[in-house]
Structure formats: structure tokens, C-alpha cells
Symmetry: C3
Subunit: 264 residues, 3 copies
């Protein structure tokens, strides 16, 4: 399926409850890929806002109690209306408050897709992980942890790093697209989470949409990297390559290995 | 009148109560055109802050109850001191909360200029409009709705889209400046609203200042577009072209039709 | 000492409690220089977050009561654990609320470094200064005011402008690095404050680290300015030059005069 063309045609409305660091970058990235972003955080309006939306993206960076409340309200409405919910557990290992917030969200809301770095997903699996801040930890390609987290919450789980793992609890895919400059731009992971929301919102098969989103984003970053020498120029070039990205670019560049449950 | 030179000479202080998505972009755009931005949202300080300012810009994106309260406090002080108030009713059609916020602001504050897209302004005229998120809706060049909204609230009203309409309720102008890349950058409308604040703050005639602001911003976007191929590069180039913009550029590029009340 | 290499090796975690305007820019600048930024503002989590950090950066722009509370909580924990605290009193002269916030922070927290423009530092010295918004005021190279503020609070004090002054109350340095485009980018001062946090976090001698941070940032801005003609391109180029900056660049470009206490 050509997800990119579908997004540009359908212009899905992606409702983001997100943090003050990445709100602008996420909105611009969603516009660049062809989706229609809306940011709304007030508990007073999130239920009504999400009811117009095609996906809800929850991001716990710079989270407050009020925002957690808004996420729960929006998430429940999304669940009631069959709108997919995507969760980014930013820095979940760093504080009890974030751990508690994520626990509550995953306890009360059916989350379609969770995307984090290896350390963040390990925390969700309660397999322990030393975390420092919100950066990506060293990359261990171990599909078992994301698979375990996936089964536990009934969500597609994605860990990103040098090799990305996408799993629905049975099947998993490894994706090698992307460039080392990505983690040098704040919110590059958060933007991928939002873009997964856009892909999933136009898809019949959320697992394939997730794999394609991860690979597409990685491909866009590779194109962006061709002309730059630092994270400032890269950040702008990433927007441009998302804007100009085609399904052919992704097909040509994708470096994905897919594993069925049996091969596990 | 050469508004751009006046702004660079007077460096008007523009107090923005705005959202987490566009705060950075608006501040940078105001600096680029030559104004002096200040962002302050806390009810505890907005009255004192606005009393130093030359214009107050209210933007309801990612609004909360507390921020609405801050807007009302700042707006009243601005009114008392003759400081122009500019309103951007971002996504007003999307939720009752935003509709209520705008209603309260327009009920309690004299707003000098309202800028929105066609759908947002239609909501203010209660002429109905299907809205989805905060993006521009399809462009209908109908000066009657903005004129009606203008008369209702005693404000200059501006709708932006492929053709922009600026009206004081009697006269109206159509402006054809601008590029299709503008709505691909989040906050490009919000920044125009802030820049209108800068133009109005140095003007005797707010209607002409508004027309000139819209045309100047459009001209800057046209210059920016000449060298770029995506929204990331465009966004940076827009800052550069605002920074380097001259009144001559605007005079040369302006595509404005002005209509007096009689021609209506 | 080669601070830049030390930062890239140690990747110090810099916890920022900062405003909605500059959060993204500060995070990206910290990543570019090689540090690991984390933004966390909720009183519920700041004590735990800062306990992982190597420096705490407090920035009062778009401050609220809740954020001041978070700053005090985080600051006390930082003090208890010997983590350096850096303060940016953004626009402290503009409102009583900001003055009160800074007074409370400086009253309850031991702050290692304070960085502001000349007007902001003058306010802290209660020597009076007409302030308008948050922009840099005209540059008066008078080391006496920062020295006085330094002695009063036991902090290293830095005023930035055309000539920067860095003082520990006895010694002071003047730094001439930097470009006039810096104040045309919102948050350029705030980012310097954050970067001072990174330098101080890897240093034995905080005074020398502060001088080097100011000079390094100025040098990076000079390199960035070589290829651009406006603040949009400059902003991205600054990220790139921070990312590619070496100690040799700084040594070659530094324009610092150091004065011992005796020469005063």
C-alpha cells in the first residue's frame, strides 16, 4: 500500500497531546508528510477535539497532572470511537511520575501503538533498564522485550535505535533505515511517533503501516543527510525530504527484515 | 507610509499570549521584521507586562482556562491604555471551549484586529462552517462574511487564504500575495497575526496598516519561496526575507485591490 | 582545559526548567554541543529528575507560580547533591512577578552562575535600569555592577551584550566574541545559559568554564555568520557550528581579556 499518497489524499487529522519542546517540530513534520496536525491539551476540550481526529498521539514529555488527565479523557473518547491511540513514553524511566502516568494510560486506555527507545520500552516491560534523561540508550537488538511488552498491553510496540524493532507480539520486523544524526535533533523520536499516527490512521493493517512508517521516516532522514553537515541544516532538510518523499523512495531505500511468528 | 522602516526605528514591544506550538516561530518572526517580542502568559504578570507594550496579540491555540483568564486581564489593561489588541481565533470551530473563549474575549475586550482563515471567521459570524482542526479551509472570496463580523465586533477583520480579505466593515481590500507553501508551515498564520500587531502599533490608520502587513508578509513569503523546495528550508528563508524586506519590495510586489464602501 | 571534548565524552545531563519559547532551541543547542538535555517542569517530578542531572538550568521566561515552585524544589535538591544551578533571569525588570520569582530563587537556592543582559543584571543589583521586554539593553561595559551582584549572591555573574562580562566577584573577564545577529534569534541568550550549564558541569573551575563557554558560544556564532544573510539561516547554522566546534576553533578565535582582583 502507498501510505504516503493515502495520507496526502486523506489529510488525516492527528490530535497531539504533546510537550512544549517538540510541539512545533511535530506539527511541522505532520504537515510535511501531508497530514493535518492539531495540538490541544486542555482537559476542557480534548474529548471534543479528538472526536474529529483520525488518530490521537500521546507524548508524556514535560507532562503535568493536568495533561495526564487530558490524555485519559481524550484516550477514552478515542477508544469509544475506534480512533487509534499512539503513545510515546518519553523518559518514562527517569521519574516515578512519568512511570505512574504511563501505567495509568496503559491501564485505562487501549493503545494501538507504543514507540520508544530501547530503554523506555524495557521499563514498560519491567525488565529494568538504567535510564538517564530522554536520550536513546545503547542499541540492543532484542525483539523479545518489545514482543513481551506488545503482548502485555495488546499494542504494536516499536523500539527505535540503530536498528528499529516493530512487533505485534507475534510477528516482528527489523528496520535498518535512518542516520546517526536523528538523535542529535530533539523530538526526532517524538515526530516519528506522530508520523506513525498518520500512517496508522489511513491503514487497514496497523502492523504493516507501522513498519512502513518507520522505514519511510528513516528513508527521509537518509535523503536529508545527503546535503548537510550538522543538526540545524539536517532538521530543516528532514522537513523538506518528508515533504518530497514518495512511496518509490521508500521502496528503493527500505532495509527491512520481516519475521513471522514461526521463525521466532 | 513605510511601515517596515517605522517598525525598525520604533522597535515596538509586542506582547504575545500564545500557544506552545508557535511561540518560538512568532517571536523569531517579530524579531526578523524589527519588532521586540515578549511572551508572558501568567495571570500574575500580564497586566503589568502589557502596560509596557505597543500591541497585545491573543492567540487561542493550546489555550487553557488560566490562559483565557490572562487574556482577559491583559486585554482590559490594553483597552484602558489604548494599546491595540489583535486576536487570532485558532481553530475556534473545533471545540466549544475555544468558541466560548473567543466569545468571552470579544464580549469583554475591544479587539482592534481579528485575523483567521475563512472557516474561523465564519464561525465568529455564526454563519456556520464545517471545521476540521486548525488548517485553512477552502478559499471562498466572499467579503460579506468578514464585513459582517467586522461590524458586529467593531474590529478590522482579516481572512487569509489564496486571496486575503481585509475589511473595516465598510471598505475592504483583496490581497493576492503569498505562496501555497505558507500553510505547510505551522504557525504561519499565527505569525502573520503577530506581525499585524507590529504594523498596527506604529500606524495612525489601522486599516491601511493591516492591508500593508498582509501584503508585506505575502511578499516576504514569495521572496523566500524563490530558493527553496520544501517547508523546512522555506521556514528559515521566510525569517531571512522578513529580516531583509524593504518597503520597496512590498511596493513592487503588492497585489492588492481596494474597494471603498460605495463600490460594495 | 578542552571543555568541548569533555562535554562530548561525558554527555552531561542538563535539566532545564524553561519557557515555551526556547525549550526546543535550548534542547537542540545542548545536543549540538554534545550534552544531553532533559526538560521537566512538573513539581511532581523535578526533584527526582534533577537528581540524575549534572546541572540544573532555571529560566524564568513564560514562568508561572507552579513553575517557580518546581524551580525551588529542583534547586534545593540540586544544592543538596552539589549539582550546579544556573539561572537566567529573563525579563526580570519587566514585572513584579518575575522580580519576586528571582528574589525567591536567589534567596532560597545557591546559584552557581547567573547570566543575563546588562539590564537584567542591573535589576538584580537593584541599581535600577529601565527595561522594556526581554531584549538586551544598550551595552555599558561596567564590570562593577556584575561584580556587586556576584558578591551579593555568591554566584558567578555574566552579562552579555556587545562585550560580555564574566566575574566571580573578584576577578572578571571581558569577552568580545559574538555577532550582532545573535539577539535577532529568540532564545540565543537562553541557549548560552544552558550551554554554560554544560561547561560548568564538566569543570573543576567554574569561573574558567564560564569564560570558556561564553567565548565558545561567541566563536560558534561567528562561524555560523560566515555563510548566512538572515536570522533563519543563522539559527540553523549556529546549531551546525556548535555541533562541529572544536577547542582549536575557540582558541584561535577567542577575544578575551582577563583581569585579576588586583587590577580592579
Amino acid at each position: 500500500m502507498d501510505y504516503i499518497t493515502a495520507i496526502r489524499k486523506q489529510k488525516p487529522l492527528i490530535h497531539n497531546i504533546t510537550n512544549i519542546v517538540v510541539a512545533n517540530f511535530s506539527a511541522n513534520g505532520l504537515l510535511a508528510i501531508g497530514a493535518s496536525p492539531v495540538m490541544a491539551n486542555a482537559p476542557e476540550e480534548v474529548e471534543e477535539m479528538v472526536s474529529h481526529a483520525n488518530a490521537l498521539v500521546l507524548n508524556i514529555g514535560t507532562c503535568t497532572q493536568t495533561q495526564v488527565r487530558a490524555m485519559l479523557l481524550a484516550g477514552k473518547t478515542a477508544n469509544d470511537q475506534g480512533i487509534p491511540v499512539i503513545l510515546d513514553p518519553v523518559g518514562v524511566g527517569a521519574t516515578s511520575f512519568r512511570k505512574q502516568a504511563v501505567k495509568q494510560i496503559l491501564g485505562e486506555i487501549n493503545v494501538s501503538v507504543i514507540r520508544g527507545n530501547t530503554g523506555e520500552i524495557a521499563i514498560l516491560g519491567e525488565v529494568g533498564s538504567e535510564m538517564k534523561g530522554v536520550d536513546a540508550s545503547t542499541d540492543h537488538i532484542n525483539p523479545n522485550i518489545p514482543k513481551q511488552v506488545s503482548r502485555r498491553y495488546g499494542s504494536i510496540v516499536i523500539t527505535t535505535g540503530e536498528t528499529d524493532v516493530i512487533t505485534d507480539g507475534e510477528r516482528y520486523s527489523l528496520c535498518k533505515n535512518g542516520v546517526p544524526m536523528l538523535p542529535k535533533v530533539t523530538g526526532s523520536g517524538c515526530l516519528l511517533t506522530a508520523i506513525i499516527g498518520a500512517f496508522v490512521s489511513v491503514a487497514d493493517d496497523r502492523y504493516h503501516a507501522s513498519v512502513n512508517a518507520v522505514s519511510s521516516y528513516g528513508a527521509a532522514s537518509e535523503i536529508a543527510m545527503e546535503t548537510v553537515s550538522g543538526p540545524g541544516a539536517f532538521s530543516a532538510a528532514l522537513m523538506d525530504s518528508l515533504y518530497n518523499l514518495t512511496n518509490q523512495d521508500v521502496t528503493k531505500r527500505k532495509r527491512i527484515q520481516m519475521f513471522t511468528a514461526q521463525e521466532d
